[in-house]
Amino acid sequence: MGYNIIDGVKYTKKHEWARQEGNEAVVGLSDYAQDKLGEIVFVELPDVGTEVEAGKGSAVIESVKAVADLYAPADGTITEVNEALLDQPEVINSDPYGEGWVYKMELKNESQMDELMDKPAYEKFVVEEDEK
């Protein structure tokens, strides 16, 4: 099964992606994660101003069958959420790295981004995950 794994973003072991823009990061769900979840029908977004912690739940994504937490890729504060997802959560399925972004956050410690996986590392990680 081929998954779209793009350049220019970093990936977490929980299958979030984060793209750094200055001291902010745009965060979403990887193509692998949206494929595993199936048709997404509901998104619960955090409030702007919420402080999030790396590896902790920061939003909830629900498909018909499953409830999944979206874990924050780094410590920081939510600065913007993609409210279009409230009415059209399925955009995460069709365009996970584009229109399907979930929130933007201000990074507390930019160096945390270095700990995330780049494209080649994530490609390898996904293959291992599928073999489990």
């Binding site: 048709e39 029908v41 509901f42 629900e62 018909v64 409830v67």
Partner: protein
């Protein structure tokens, strides 16, 4: 728990890129590449094929077979004709449910029961515990494969594979020996989706041939495979109970509003009769209701339901409904509140969401 078992169709699911999961001890596809939502539409508009080989089959034969079944079933099979099928819960003496099953009367004192996969061993033990007289019980589950062909195109597909005129087979009827593409099958007009369709049983050695024949015959009728995920959503839309959700050891058929399958005044005394009669007379503190979300949110099993801040029950099954494009749930609620209320609050994680009480079933096919 021991390693999950493969059905005779396992290789077909892998070839069709089914996402395989372990479902009560069986490796089965939860969905295929088209996805759960499309599989629901495929079933309602065209036709789908499901592997339901995990279901259990038990044969009951002998002079006392009918009396034995009358004692363990809450429905009344005395009026069940040959080649006809009846649905019935099986109850414990306290009215709690052992399982809900289908009874096929092959002829006279020869019956074929279809039971839930996860309950097969428990049911068989229960039957053995209650059996008496001239009754021969056999657990045929390991020998049988089963496919469900569901949706409006089902008859046209299956008819290509047999000379038996399927148009003459009524809903909840069957034939015990039908030649389908050279395989000897039990063919019944039944299903768990709310659509027209057939369930076809054969011995394991004919299974692969049967699947391939149905698959090929289905190509010009846009047949697609469908998995457990869409099966669960389809049955919820049609408001059919699922054991472990709407029925259990702690929930009676009356609470699940299955009154028309409970022959309280049956002549043969049956397991649960006294308890169910008492419950009917006394009333119930939890009964099944339909809920439709008024705010976007996915109702799921176990979520609490409140009215005016007070907890009045729980969700037993819930999902997004692709057919209705709504979020729906079945819930056990306190009738004292639910019969007054038009709206209730459904708790999802930390927030409450508005839902309205609706009639069941959510979906009924146009005939």
């Amino acid at each position: 728990m021991s390693e999950a078992k493969k059905t005779p169709f396992y290789e077909k699911h892998v070839a069709l890129e089914g996402k395989i999961v372990d479902y009560s001890g069986w490796f089965l596809p939860v969905q295929y590449s088209r996805g759960l939502v499309e599989e629901v539409h495929d079933t309602r508009k065209r036709a789908t094929i499901f592997d339901v080989s995990h279901m259990g089959e038990v044969s009951v034969e002998g002079k006392d077979a009918e009396t034995f079944l009358q004692k363990i079933l809450v429905n009344d099979i005395s009026r069940l004709k040959d080649n006809a099928i009846m649905y019935s819960p099986v109850c414990y003496p306290d009215g709690g449910v052992v399982d809900d099953i289908l009874i096929y009367r092959i002829s006279g004192d020869n019956f074929f029961l279809v039971v839930n996969a996860a309950n097969t061993d428990k049911d068989y033990a229960w039957f053995q515990e209650n059996v008496f007289g001239d009754v021969k019980l056999q657990n045929l589950s390991p020998e049988y494969a089963q496919v469900a062909l569901q949706g409006p195109n089902s008859e046209a597909i299956l008819q290509q594979l047999t000379d038996t005129p399927l148009g003459e087979m009524k809903n909840y009827h069957f034939l015990p020996s039908v030649n389908v593409a050279g395989v000897d099958c039990i063919v019944s007009r039944t299903g768990y989706t709310g659509e027209d369709g057939f369930e076809v049983y054969c011995k394991n050695d004919g299974a692969s041939k049967l699947w391939d024949a149905v698959w090929e015959a289905g190509q010009k009728y846009e047949l697609n495979p469908a998995g457990l995920g869409s099966r669960d959503v389809l049955r919820l839309e049609a408001s059919m109970p699922l054991y472990g959700h709407e029925l259990s050891k702690e929930l009676t058929p009356l609470q699940a509003r299955l009154d028309r399958f409970v022959a309280l005044d049956k002549e043969v005394e049956f397991n649960g009769q006294a308890a169910l009669k008492k419950q009917k007379a006394d009333g119930m503190d939890r009964m099944l209701y339909g809920l439709e979300m008024l705010e976007r949110g996915v109702p799921r099993e176990g979520y609490p339901v409140k009215s005016g801040g007070q907890e009045i029950g729980w969700v037993s099954s819930g999902s997004f409904s692709p057919t209705l494009d709504k979020f729906i749930a079945m819930a056990f609620l306190d009738p004292e509140f639910a019969d007054q209320a038009e709206e209730v609050e459904l708790m999802i994680r930390t927030r409450s969401y508005r839902a309205k009480i609706t009639k069941l079933p959510f979906y009924r096919r146009k005939k």
